[in-house]
Amino acid sequence: MIGASKIKQYSNVLEKPLSKGKQEVSLSAFAFLFSELVQYNQTQVDNIAELERRLEDAGYAVGARCLELLCHREKCVMFMPFWLSQGNRRETRLLGILSFVHSTVWKVLFGKVADSLEKGTEHEDEYMISEKELLVNRFISIPKDMGTFNCGAFVAGIVRGVLDSAGFPAVVTAHFVPMEGQQRPRTTILIKFAEEVLRREARLG
């Protein structure tokens, strides 16, 4: 056909133009996929701690890539608060990166900002991001014999991946917090920053 052009073949995936990130899939497609991830990992481990670790590792990979993607797209992002939208700025402060995770990352991955971001009262290095119902836990029920296992370990892994790649090493875990008057417990992502992060933060003033 005269005038018709073939779709350009990119030899390298990095040469392809970056999409706007607005494409969507159905929630059930994601839920099915996530359930297969959990089920597969259940066959590979002997105990709960191992299972949580594997889910976290899977999430870590997602988080690291998510940070790269968001940083590349920063210029086009409309929903960031005005004081963050100066484009191409790397977060170097603790509160900055926490705010980034709580708002930007959550908004991109889960469609809304996280419910709350709190500083731990007992320890200086602990922060908590809470969510009434994590997207990944929507269709998951934990049998009694699995105790405190939380599939939110995947999300904890995502957060750890983002923080680690941004230069804020931390230990991140997910916990269920029972709420008064509510049937389903709230999920809290507990972030415990490494020593070096706090020292650096203190030095920066």
Partner: protein
């Protein structure tokens, strides 16, 4: 009251809850990476992805039938059309087309131009035998088996291997008649 007619893929996709495709893409990437680390053999990974897809397919078909309101398909041609137009659209948000029907009407190709599973993906040299989207073939096989059709699904063209589209060949092997375990009373 007459039952409502079948809904189009776009209408259903607009009405279901959706998530960012990138979360989906990255999660799938994490799954494939885990499998490659655990199983190491590319063939084993292909089989495992197919099995995962099968597990998804057998449950996915219930949701598909519930949400799409399609009436019983008259023949395999209609089945393929419906799965491509409505099924792919309502779950993955991408349209697919059906081509290459054989003479008997038991074998066709489903062509996907866009595939959210493979955004940002490149196959390294060590994994050239990997069918990255093999989960999709399992999903189709599982879903069709639950509606009494035994099929064989294979990949004909794969963008990650240098082709320009994704092409799945769906071949109907046999139609298993439904057996009711109880007396069917309407």
């Amino acid at each position: 009251m007459a039952p409502a007619g079948p809904r189009s893929g776009d209408a259903i996709f607009a009405s279901v809850e959706r998530v960012n495709a990138e979360l989906f893409t990255l999660t799938y990437g994490a799954i494939v990476r885990q499998l490659l680390t655990d199983l190491e053999e590319v063939d084993e990974v292909n089989k495992q992805l197919d099995q995962m897809g099968y597990n998804i397919g057998i449950r996915l078909v219930d949701e598909f039938l519930a949400k799409s309101n399609v009436s019983r398909c008259v023949d395999f041609k209609e089945t393929a059309e419906v799965s491509a137009k409505v099924g792919f659209k309502m779950f993955l948000g991408v349209g697919a087309s059906v081509t290459n029907w054989d003479a008997e009407g038991t074998c066709c190709s489903i062509v996907l131009e866009d595939n959210p599973l493979v955004d940002f993906v490149e196959l390294p040299d060590t994994c050239q035998g990997l069918y990255y989207c093999n989960v999709l073939s399992g999903v189709i096989r599982g879903a069709l088996e639950m509606v009494s059709m035994k099929t064989e699904v294979t990949w004909l063209r794969d963008v990650l291997r240098g082709d320009d589209v994704f092409e799945l060949q769906v071949k109907l092997i046999k139609q298993v008649p439904e057996e009711y375990p109880y007396k069917d009373d309407e």
